[in-house]
Structure formats: C-alpha cells, structure tokens
C-alpha cells in the first residue's frame, strides 16, 4: 500500500483549512476497515486512540469511573446491587430515548428544544385516552394517537425550518412554549384535576404503567435474550463472511467471534442481573419491559441512520449540505422527516416518563429534559456541529447522566449538587472532544 502524501499539500487560499490541511493525511484510519488480523486490529486501534480519535472511549471511561466511585462510596456497595442497576436503567431510559431522538436534529447540525414538552403532550394524550372513566381507548390506540400528535408537531416545526428557512433554535423554542401550553391544556381534560394517573386495575392503564414497572418472566427473558444474540451474531457473522468470500477487506474471523461472544456475555449479564430477586422481602425479578423497548429504539434508529439511504442523506446534509444538494438529495424532505422522527422519539421517551411517574402532571420538567437529552448525546460523542453522532451515543450519555444522579441519590446528596456534577461532566465531555479533535488537527470526523 502506497504511502499517502503528507508534506506537499498546500492550503488553498480562501478555502477553509480543513479542505486540504496537511496533518489529515497522517490521520489514523479506522482499524476495522484495514486490519486483516487481530494483532493488526489491536495495533490500529491503539494508534487511533493515540492520534486523538477516541470514539466512545471517553464516555466508557466516564461510566467506569462512575461505577467505581459510587460502588466504593455507596453504603454496602449498594450501587452495584441488582435492584439499583435495574433502577439506574429505568431512571436513565427517558433521557436515553430523548437523546436518541435529538440525534436526528444534532447530526443535521440543527437542534430541537421542544422535545421535552412535545413528548409530554404525546404522553399526556395517551394517558388521558386510556382513562376508563372517560375515553377508555385501548392502550395501543392511545399510544399511536400520542405519537401521531408528536409526528404532526414535528412536521410543522420541520416545515417552518426547511421551507421558510427559519433557524431551528428559534422555531423549536417557540414550539417548546406552545407545546408547554398545549400540555397544560391537555392535562386539564376530564375529572382528574390536572393529574391523570395510571392508577387502577383497568388493563389499558396497567399496560402503560407496566412499561416501567412490569417485568418479563425470567425464563422468557432468557429465551428472548438468546434469540436476540443468535440473530445479531448470525447477522454479524454472515455479513463478515460475505465480505471475506467476496474479496473485500474484512475483519479477521477471530474478531467476529470475539464480538459475538462479548454480545452474548453482555446479554447474559443483563438478564442475570434482572432475573435476580430484587426485593428484600418477597420476589421481584425479570427483565423490565423498558429494556427491550430502549433496545428496539436503539436498533431501529441505528439501522435507519447507518444502513439506509435516508440515514446516509442525514449524515451527508450534516457534513456538507451543498454536496448533498448537488447529489440530488431532497434536503427539505430529509430535514423535515428528521424533525418528525425527533418528535416521535420524544413521544416514546415521555411515555416512559409517564410510566415511571405513574401518570402525567404539570410537574414535567420539559425544559430540563431537553438540556439533559442534548447533554447525553454530546457526552456520548455526538457533535453539535453536525455530521457526527449515533443513536448509541444517547444511550451511553444517558447512562452517565442517570448514573450520576442515581449514585448521588444513594448517598442522600442534595439535588443541587447533582445539577452541578452533571454540568461538570458535560463540560468535561465537550472539552475532551474538542481537545482530541484539536490534537488530531481535523474537523468533526468519524466513521459512521
């Protein structure tokens, strides 16, 4: 393989330096695209980290730090108990899913400030519609209605942003206030004094309440996990195998097996934690429904962003809108759909909130949730400049934010301190990101 040019690349006058800046040629290439053996892969990977391309490493480091600190610190190391790890996931789920939705806006280089209250509107509609004393809709129809509201709201915002060329910051700021108003109006329907609850024995209420509180039977949990691992592992093996047999550069077969093995171990560990008895008296075990729900959102949005034309266009617009336009991509449609997906995902997130809180009330901190969602995505590695970000980042960042709050609550530390620590972690995340990119002398670059 020939050596890439390095020294003789002048910077074009009047061009942004990142078009032709010399150090980029020296940048490390993702090891998975060139490594042919496991040793090469490991070497490539460590070279890449040294070159400042840390990927999700900082957020993983943050998670390990949170785990170690709170485990040592918490009374009786309760942080790592099964009950608390399940709590941690349940508490983080809202921010994780919100951040996965926000990813669509952030990758485009836009922002959606309205997600908290738009999602809250959708969830409030769902919670209102399943009330047995008023509308008594079946739970699935109520969820669809709530998500449709979110989709419509996102479509209107997206249309204003793309067709009238208004800045997304302002449009969604307006959307945030409008959605907050609508949310309070929706809450006041029916004889619930503004507090429609998911309380009672009605099966539709129970279905929504059980998203968080309900558990899949322990045996069924194992079966589902096994099926999931087999499907994912089979797909990974098959696609690597096809690349290998068709003569394309493919990772070494040992690496494929290691990855599949790790996924199987993770799945087994998660199920084992959830299947442990979490109650100190009586029995409480099984995988909470919220875990597969978050996984489904993660897999769906990952496939959409990384394996379909639509996702490819989202990244292209985020990276270079002019290039996307010249490639014949319909920018307004792609952008508008991104805002719709963002709002619908927010609807799912706030449905999880309703389930966690057992109903909806005017206490929803819609503005704060937006900030947490953006912070989670950025902590996970998504760029605010556009072009770079994944659904996975939201999940990882959400776990970090949730982990901080969970650990500090275990200590009985005050909520004021939690705000401060979360803010510091966010600043640390963007600082690491900025420094590593400055070190590697390039703009926002990633393999997507």
């Amino acid at each position: 393989m020939a050596e890439p040019e390095r020294a003789d690349v002048p910077t074009a006058p009047g061009h942004a330096a990142d078009l032709t800046a010399a150090p980029e040629a020296a940048k490390e290439v993702p090891p998975e695209v060139v490594a042919q053996s496991l040793g090469e892969y490991v070497r490539g990977w460590s070279a890449r980290i040294r070159a400042g391309e840390s990927g999700v490493l900082p957020v993983i480091a943050a998670m390990v730090a949170i785990l170690v600190v709170f485990t040592i610190w918490s009374p009786n190391h309760v942080f790592l108990s099964a009950v608390n790890l399940v709590n941690l996931f349940q508490q983080s789920a809202v921010v994780m899913v919100l951040a996965m939705g926000e990813a669509f806006a952030l990758v485009l280089g836009e922002i959606d400030l309205s997600v908290g209250f738009v999602g809250a509107c959708g969830a409030a509609i769902t919670v209102q519609l399943v009330q047995p004393v008023t509308t008594r809709w079946p739970w699935w129809a109520a969820i669809i209605a709530g998500l449709l509201f979110c989709a419509a709201f996102g479509a209107i915002q997206g249309t204003l942003i793309t067709r009238l060329r208004l800045p997304s910051f302002i449009v969604t700021l307006g959307g945030y206030l409008i959605a907050q108003g609508l949310f309070l109006i929706i809450l006041n329907f029916g004889p619930f004094s503004g507090f429609p609850l998911l309380a009672g024995s009605d099966s539709n209420l129970q279905a929504i309440y059980d998203i968080m509180a309900g558990n899949i039977d322990p045996i069924v949990s194992w079966v589902l996990a096994a099926v999931g691992v087999l499907a994912l592992g089979g797909f990974m093996w098959w696609s690597d195998h096809r690349r290998r047999t068709s003569g394309l550069v493919a990772p070494p077969v040992s690496l494929t097996y290691i990855k599949i093995g790790l996924i199987a171990v993770v799945a087994a560990v998660v199920v084992a934690i959830c299947d442990a008895n979490r109650a100190s008296i009586g029995v409480l075990s099984g995988v909470p429904y919220v875990i597969p729900i978050v996984l489904v959102v993660l897999v769906s949005w990952t496939v959409l962003l990384e394996r379909t034309r639509y996702g490819r266009y989202v990244y292209a617009i985020g990276g270079n809108p002019e290039a996307a336009r010249r490639a014949g991509i319909n920018l307004p449609i792609i952008r508008t759909v991104a805002f719709v997906l963002c709002s619908v995902t927010a609807g799912i997130a706030m449905l999880l909130y309703a389930s966690l809180l057992g109903g909806m009330s005017n206490n929803v901190q819609g503005g704060q949730y937006v900030l947490y969602a953006v912070a989670a995505a950025v902590i996970g590695g998504t760029s605010l400049m556009g072009g770079r970000g994944k659904a996975l980042h939201g999940v990882l960042g959400g776990l970090v934010i949730g982990g901080i709050s969970n650990g500090m609550n275990l200590q009985g530390l005050r909520f004021e301190a939690q705000y401060i620590v979360t803010g510091i972690v966010l600043l640390a995340a963007v600082t690491i990101d900025a420094l590593s990119r400055r070190g590697s002398g390039s703009g926002s670059v990633t393999r997507i």
Binding site: M1, A2, E3, P4, E5, R6, D8, V9, P10, T11, A12, H15, D18, L19, T20, A22, E24, A25, K27, V29, P30, V33, V34, R242, R243, S246, L248, V249, V303, R307, T308, R309, R312, Y313, Y315, A316, G318, G319, N320, E322, A323, A324, R326, A327, G328, I329, G387, R388, S442, G443, S444, V445, T446, R447, I448
Partner: protein, 263 residues
C-alpha cells in the same frame, strides 16, 4: 455535400452549444456562445474572471437554463433542466469546492444520492466493490482504504475521489472546474494524469483553468471566452501561450503563433 458530413454522428461533437444567450436581469452574461465538446478530447475553457466560463458550465450541467440558443447532444437538441437531466445524459461536473461530505467515507461519497440497496438496506459490499474498481481503473492507488473518511485525505486524493465519483456513472462528458487550483506540484501531476486517462477512455472532458501550464499540458482543444463571448476555439496546437493570453485579455490576437480559428 459538406452539410451532410456535419450531421454524420462520427464527426458531430458530443455536445454542441449553438448561439446560447444568458442574462441575469439587465446583465447579459453570455452572447451567442458556440462551443463544441468532442468525445476523446480534453477541451480547456479559458478566460478572465467574469468572462462567462462558470455560467457556460452551469448551463451544460443543468443548473442554469439558456435564454436563447440550443444545446445539441450527439446531434439532437436537448433541454437540460436540472442536474438530474444532465447526469441522465452522461454529464458529470467536478466542482471546484469538490462537493464531498467530509464526514462520509470514499465509497459513501462516490455513491452519494445514487446508493445501491437491497430492499431498504444499503448494499455496502456492492458499492464498495464498484468504487474500488473505478478507483483502480483510474489508477488512484494512494488511499489507504476506501472506507476512510474524506476528511482524512490529501487535496490530490480528494480531487481524485471527486473525479472518480464523476466517471463512475458511465458518463460521457466530465466538466472540471479549476481541478488543480488548490494542489501542490506532485498532486497536480496526479490530477493531470487522471484527466488524460479519462480522455483515453474516450470521454469528452471540459477543463476550466486559469493555469496555462496545465492547459497546454493536458488540453487537446482550447476555447477562450471574453466578456461573455466565446472568441475562439481550436486545436491546442494552433495556440501558443501569448496568443491565449491575448484572447483572454483583449478578445483577439494578432500574433503569428495564433493560427486559431476565431468564431
């Protein structure tokens, strides 16, 4: 009898602009431009800033519409209403700013807007193979991996990717806007070699350039614009450096070296 010979497909240029006018409001940008772009030849379009080079290329690539005159493609009049029409005919444009998305890799950029898919999922393997073949056929071999992001490429490599992107679609005419403007010596060499290889494949190539060294190095034909008019086009051997400069700055040339046919 001569008229019959002109309509013969073998002599007809791939693309011919006939009496093309274009104005923006009161500003007349092009006056009766007649330009021939034959297959298997590199045509250099020269001219000072504001001479109308960019407007001409944008009319060919479908971004602007001509106000008057006609465009003949293989002898038949065509309307190029947008970039899609142009690429359907086989016209691809490599823009000066390259129009590559930094965050996407080489394969993703080359297939941007024309991805191959099986069902709803992208067929990455097939795209990767096709991209690798195209780059190999153009002898672009300096990139480490075609799965590396474009941001990690050097200027010459980026230009190569942009050209490869343009020729991958069985294009017949490739328009290149200042292809060497941002490049160093070694990389300019690579790009000029690449242009020659396109010609050797039988493509029509139109190169817009200020750099007369490059023009004389690579062009088979030279066309010069001056204040919205195409003042001369002929085989490169009929020009010398000074005559091209004269045409660019005054619209005419009296030098003996300039044996070129004025239009």
């Amino acid at each position: 009898m001569a008229a019959v010979a002109v309509t013969d497909a073998s002599h007809e240029p791939l693309l011919r602009l006939r009496d093309v006018d274009k104005h923006f409001g009161p500003v007349q940008a092009l006056y009766h431009v007649n330009l021939d772009l034959p297959s298997g030849k590199v045509t250099a379009l020269c001219g000072d800033n504001g001479a109308g080079k960019t407007v001409t290329t944008k009319i060919v690539s479908g971004i602007y519409q001509a106000d008057a005159g006609e465009i003949l493609w293989q002898g038949h009049p065509v309307h190029i209403r947008n970039a899609r029409d142009a690429s359907r005919l086989g016209i691809e444009t490599v823009y000066q700013d390259l129009a590559l998305a930094d965050n996407l890799d080489i394969v993703q950029n080359m297939f941007l807007g024309r991805e191959r898919a099986r069902g709803v999922l992208l067929d990455e393997d097939s795209m990767e193979r096709a991209a690798a073949e195209t780059l190999a056929s153009l002898r672009v071999t300096t990139v480490k991996s075609i799965r590396q992001p474009v941001a990690s490429l050097s200027g010459g490599q980026r230009q190569s990717v942009a050209v490869a992107k343009a020729v991958m679609w069985n294009s017949k005419l490739v328009i290149m806007d200042e292809p060497t403007a941002a490049l160093g010596v070694v990389q300019t060499r690579q790009v000029l070699d690449l242009i020659k290889r396109l010609r050797d494949r039988g493509l029509a190539v139109m190169v817009i350039s200020h750099n007369l060294n490059d023009v004389f190095e690579v062009a088979d034909r030279i066309a010069v614009m001056y204040l919205g008019r195409l003042v001369v086009q002929d085989d490169a051997s009929n020009f010398d450096r000074q005559s091209v400069v004269d045409y660019m700055t005054t619209g005419g040339s009296s030098r003996s070296g300039g044996r070129a046919r004025e239009s």
